[in-house]
Amino acid sequence: MNAKLTHESAGASAGKGRKVSNETFITLFMIAVLVLVFAAAGLVVPNFFLPQNMINILTNNWFIVIVGIGVTFLLVTGNFDMSVGGVIALAGVLSAYFSQGANVSQNPLANGLGLPYGLAVILALICAMGIGGINAFFIARLKVPSIIITLGTMMLARGIAQVVTQGAQRNTSLPSVFGVIGTIAIPSTSIKVSVIIMVVLVIAAVIFEKKTVPGRRTYLIGANSQAAWLSGVKVTKHLASLYILSALLAGITGILLASEFKAGVSSRATGYEFDALVVALLGGVSINGGRGSVLGMFVGAVILSVVTTASTGLLLSPDWQFILKGAVTFFAILAQRYALERRKV
């Protein structure tokens, strides 16, 4: 019965006799937008259709896509996670600090705890999940608005990262294994392990979202958390797990990025929380809850990638990126709403 209920809620406003749910409809709609944007970019930007450029567009944003998975699930439940950028920095810095050699230098930034890299990674991920736990406690338990708390924990996470690195970065006396996972690529291609991790995580997230009971419950909570609670869904627990999951994904991203740059930098991923939110909104996630998909978010990430690549190709100054992101989000929200309203008629 539960399954039937969630299934109906997903397609409730889709009208009778239609086979495509609103989620799929919006994803298809955004794919159409993507094709248009892509064609337009190809017409104005020289060398846009080169194969290498296509691969870059699909793989460039792997870090935003990975954190976007957690942010998307939370948005579906009607909650924000603005702490992901801070958590990325924290996990990266801690993975460096834990694995740096102990007592090797006079410079305090070169001395770490001297743990094996694997252990360092696990501990860094646990710390990242700790930030997620704080989010979970305040938001799921105390029912404090998520935007306020996650902005606070963003500062908390980045603040710890800054204290550990004294406002700079840790990049000396790292074990050689530190820089491996973020830099190795599939032989004779430019595709990195990080990209493969992204693909695996996206596939897993799509299966979780469409085919599992907890995945569907996420939508039920977003559509009507009161109804979800009454029908026996443990809303608090579910929301808490999602926040911890989101922090874990951000932590993985942080470790991969730190490895790629062979440094734990405290200012890494500044503003990524906005980017994750932007790609989720581009992909049709509704902040009012109950609608959105990871696949849509991925399409959103590719759209953002096309737009930023095109603006670089047109030699626009990097200062344009804020305006582009803002404008693209704004129009995406309006276009999606317009399309959905037309559909109901």
Binding site: I147, M155, L156, G159, F274, F322, I323
Partner: protein, 343 residues
Amino acid sequence: MNNTAQQPSRAELDRSRARRSTIKKYYIYVVLLLIVAVFSVMKLDQVPLFGRGSFLSRDSIINLLRTAAPIMTLSGAFTLLMISGYIDLSVGSAMSLNAVVFAFMVLNGFSFLPALLLTLLLGVVLGAINGFLVMRLRITPVIATLVTLLLFKGVALLIVPDGTSAVKSTAEQTMPGWINNYARQDVLLGLPAAFFVALLVIGILVVVQRKTILGKYAAAIGGNRTAAELSGINAVKIVWLLYIIVGVCAALAGVARASYMSLGDPLSGDGMELACIIAVLLGGTAFSGGEGSVAKTMIGALIIMTVTTGLMTVIPAYWQTLAVGTVLLAAVVLNHLLVREKA
């Protein structure tokens, strides 16, 4: 029967509620006094910013109040908006943009008053944009103001010439020296004009919140928007007006900041939205709107300024983010413990 059983517990409940409301009324003053006391005891002699003597010296207090002008102006208006249950995350970007535009005009030969008036006009426009997105296009306030956060910041960055970090004197143009006067020159008691303008604005906002129909309507909308609209309040118009008021205050804050730093820094307002949220929450305004006080937000704003400037003098700058984040979470906990229950 059920009633008699509940009787004693209800009396107890009333007592605890009365105690709670007393704590709620006065705790913020105690917090401010405690923080000031702590920093006064610390040795600050060696610190260049404070120069001579203790935290409570005339110089350091004047310095604190001078730098507090932007956040006090802005968080006052922010309170009204939060009372009505809405939020504006773009205030920091709006303030940066106003600062950049003001500095740009001064650099290009405008005198003070026209530059100020045009910046205020820009503030009205920025506020109206937010109002339009939230109230006319009905985009969720958080998302709408995040979009404008990106847009305002982008425009501010574009105005700043390539290769420099701020609008300031160049080889061709020099920033007139008088840009500093507004936020630094002694007008009365060592305090500059910007501070008194901030006081005036806060005075007006306190009166607006307590004594005018706008304040009552804001609280009514925050309490229950549907009920407010059914009783004849034009919520769209009122909230739109509140966004414009926030925009104007962002303009004033931007001018004060540009004048204080004598340049237009496109990142100077970063984090302002968080500072405002902290001030408002410390001041006891409910998350969901419906109640709050501009006057108490001012105490909240002073607490943040005391903590940040006070901390800067005793610990390295890279602790700042962690400190502010911790203060924010502490403010949320205090607010949760004391305000959440609606009587």
